[in-house]
Symmetry: C2
Subunit: 481 residues, 2 copies
């Protein structure tokens, strides 16, 4: 393939702080002793989009059967409410004259999500009819009678003062936290924000301590404002990761370009360990067995809000790169991109959103594991959700019938084989479950996890992050100020 970039593994991986005994057990390839070509998906994107003659049409000419997409987006088309460049000037001028709504950081993330069509067919923040359907049915019925999944309320809260300022205006301008005019919201509808009901129906609890609730709902206004979005220019974060933020349309084009005949999405908000990798590689194997010729993995870390003790996005992206460089995942059949949504930690309700958004991005297979989008109960010593409910709810979710759900067996550390393996209940005592929390505890303590848990270069990224974090925490505030 002409559009690939050859990289050579740098030897710094060898400097990992491992006991010789441990080193011996790490497969040679994961220590980087085998220099190999890395096909790094995301570096390709600028090339792809500057290419006047996209791959797809070439392929068509050569007679290959390529569908422009493997799965229809919800509502038939991927929503795109970003104002074309030619109209930006006039729209901005108009927006300046409108009453303004000041957005919180989380609102900007949702503007991003809506603007690129992740929430298709939603074209803006929910009006009350959409909000109620989302809350009660986790789905929307469209005018033609079709049902699309929509499990999370995607809403914009305003306070009493803002509501009063808006008065009877039909449109408002949306202003980012820095004061930039970002978007216009058209044909608005303002309705009550019953926070208690929203929280109870979304999370199945109203216990204090839910991260999204505490950060963004409790402090929010008592009104919700819905309407159609017009986003004045694409949302960018300028954090060095924007090239990873591929829109659903960009992803669909990339899948086509790669002539994917199956796309399987893997949502994650944690570093990739070898259990995840086992699962993704096993999925690919299963798809090949099913007769697919070119299944492509969409490794799709969530890039929006995550709770304070989760590993930050930049560290995770670095870790994911190492996993690909190390060959734990095959870069040739993997696309790494950032999913711009914030995290709710709403378990079975949220996993539907995670899957639905990937349908819009063109994935027709979705991998779901134990306790997706789950967390510990904020006030009780137990998981907030039954770990099996996520996959059960997802497999029955309205509007997702067209998506192939791939539930998987739990992977755990096999202390005999000294690697991550599918859990075998017949010899359960041989297996060690290493949760995200446990993993973070190892890394924070500078301890190594058992051999074969994660590729060493990926692990090093985490260890260094926690070293930095501890150094920062140890620095007295007066000095850092």
């Amino acid at each position: 393939m002409s559009l690939t970039i050859k990289l050579t593994i740098t030897p710094h991986i060898i400097s990992l702080n491992l006991h010789p005994k441990q080193r011996a057990k790490i497969p040679a390839y994961s220590l980087g002793f085998r220099p190999k070509a890395i096909y790094h998906s995301n570096a390709l994107i600028p090339i792809l989009y500057n290419n006047k003659q996209p791959r797809m049409s070439q392929a068509s000419v050569s007679g290959s059967v390529i569908k422009s997409s493997l799965i229809e987006p919800d509502g038939g088309v991927v929503v795109d409410v970003i104002v074309p460049e030619s109209e930006r000037g006039s729209k901005t001028l108009e927006a300046e004259s409108l009453p303004k709504v000041r957005l919180a950081r989380i609102d900007v993330e949702w503007v991003h999500v809506i603007s690129e069509g992740w929430a298709s067919p939603l074209k803006g923040f929910m009006r009350e009819n959409e909000y109620l359907q989302s809350l009660h049915f986790n789905s929307l019925r469209m005018e033609n009678g079709a049902v699309v999944n929509m499990s999370l309320p995607i809403v914009l809260a305003i306070d009493d003062e803002t509501k009063e300022n808006i008065g009877s205006s039909k449109d408002v301008g949306l202003v980012g936290p820095d004061g930039d005019l970002l978007a216009v919201l058209r044909s608005i509808e303002i309705y009550k924000h019953n926070k208690e009901e929203r929280i109870a129906r979304t999370w199945g609890t109203t216990a204090p301590g839910l991260p999204y609730v505490e950060e963004f709902i409790t402090p929010a206004g008592n009104w919700l404002i819905g309407g159609d979005l017009e986003v004045l220019k694409p949302i960018k974060y300028n954090d060095g990761l924007d090239h990873y933020r591929l829109s659903p349309q960009q992803l669909r084009k990339e899948f086509d370009r790669r002539q994917a005949d199956a796309v399987f999405a893997f949502q994650l908000r944690n570093p990739v360990h070898n259990g995840h990798a086992l699962l993704m590689n096993d999925t690919r194997r299963r798809l090949l067995e099913m007769g697919y010729k070119n299944p492509i993995l969409l490794l799709h870390p969530l890039g929006g809000f995550t709770k304070a003790d989760d590993v930050p996005l930049d560290v995770r992206m670095e870790q994911h790169s190492k996993v690909l460089e190390d060959g734990v995942l095959d870069p040739e059949t993997t696309i790494v991109a950032i999913f711009p949504s914030p995290m709710h930690y709403a378990g079975p309700t949220e996993v539907q959103w995670h899957a639905k958004a990937r349908v819009n991005a063109g994935a027709n297979f979705y991998i779901v594991g134990r306790d997706p989008a789950g967390m510990g109960h904020p006030t009780e010593k137990r998981d907030l959700y039954d770990p099996d409910h996520g996959k059960k709810v997802l497999s029955m979710a309205p509007g997702l019938e067209k998506l192939n759900i791939l539930p998987f067996r739990v992977a755990a550390y096999d202390t005999v084989a000294k690697k991550m393996a599918f859990f075998d209940p017949s010899r359960s005592k041989d297996f060690l479950f290493i949760s995200g929390t446990k993993m973070r505890t190892y890394a924070r303590a500078g301890e190594n996890p058992p051999d074969g848990f994660m590729c060493p270069s990926g692990w090093e990224v985490l260890v260094k992050y926690y070293e930095r974090l501890q150094a920062e925490e140890a620095t007295p505030a007066a000095v850092s100020a």
Copy 2:
């Protein structure tokens, strides 16, 4: 019609304790001065079901176009899991050998509901897949892909000890609170009863003080047991009201017998006042205008659990009889029957259940008013639900597309016209809203509501009930013991 019974209004209505001034304003017909024939629906039922040659077939012979039903029950057939009499002996014998589950009063109400097919296509207490769909989607997807509405979890809770006793048995016997063997539950599935999640997702709050929760969920066991029901004989209450408890199949037959070409259901748990009557009569008028020739009203008071301060069922049934005797509603086009479900007070979630169950009973129109199945927030000074959400949610509910929803304008007391009338916002100061709570306060205080609020004979029933109640409350416990 040959199957009617003529009754003459008894003159006791005149003995109502009214000021002469008030008396003058009550329409003559509602004071019972105009003796008229009352066609009392429910007295007919024994005749109907002993009639070997049902009316319907006679009508067919005479050439009328009569559909055997106006609306298809969910799943295509009305579920009936009552064991035929010929098999009762053997099934009872078998049931006696099974592990037993002791039912609470509320469970018996649900056995009743399921056994007669109100919850069709549900054939027993929910297994986990049904429970999760109900909780998350307010609907069930059937094997053929069709979606039916199912907004309330219909579940049976058991405690740890019962679970242990059941062991690996595939079936269990269900025993009523009095020790009677009532039913068998087949191919059981036991799963966790996460009460907090169930409450939050059903009520949209977990605030203490929800009547159904406090009475039946908080004290219940930590497991749910699902399975297919076989009910050993029809559930009876022997309270003098069983003849009002018509099953969906009985109601469907009665609608056919009456040659109804539209059936509009009115759910209530309160006494009927003239605002309700206005609405029901106005609905009939609208249906006639739409071209229906014989719309029949199903006046369908809820007969299961209600909260302590609601008016009890027997008093309500007496009050409803007076309303019909008084001619406020036309007995010839009205069927009064009891809906055996318990009340959740779960607003927009519950109103779907109320409507869905009536679809199964053959109603193709459903009247929905302000704040259906609502109540005050248990800990805050506000309605628990937005009063408009019930009708909005109902009109969008999955599986209820086939039902004609009739939302109505609010009726209130018009102090100028001195009658219940549709609220006219242009002269809002002329209107008085009399809530159920307010109505009960009047009756409890022995005060009369404004003229024209309720027919006097119906009001008298309420006053007498509250007099009795107060007398009982005033009686020292030692004396009544």
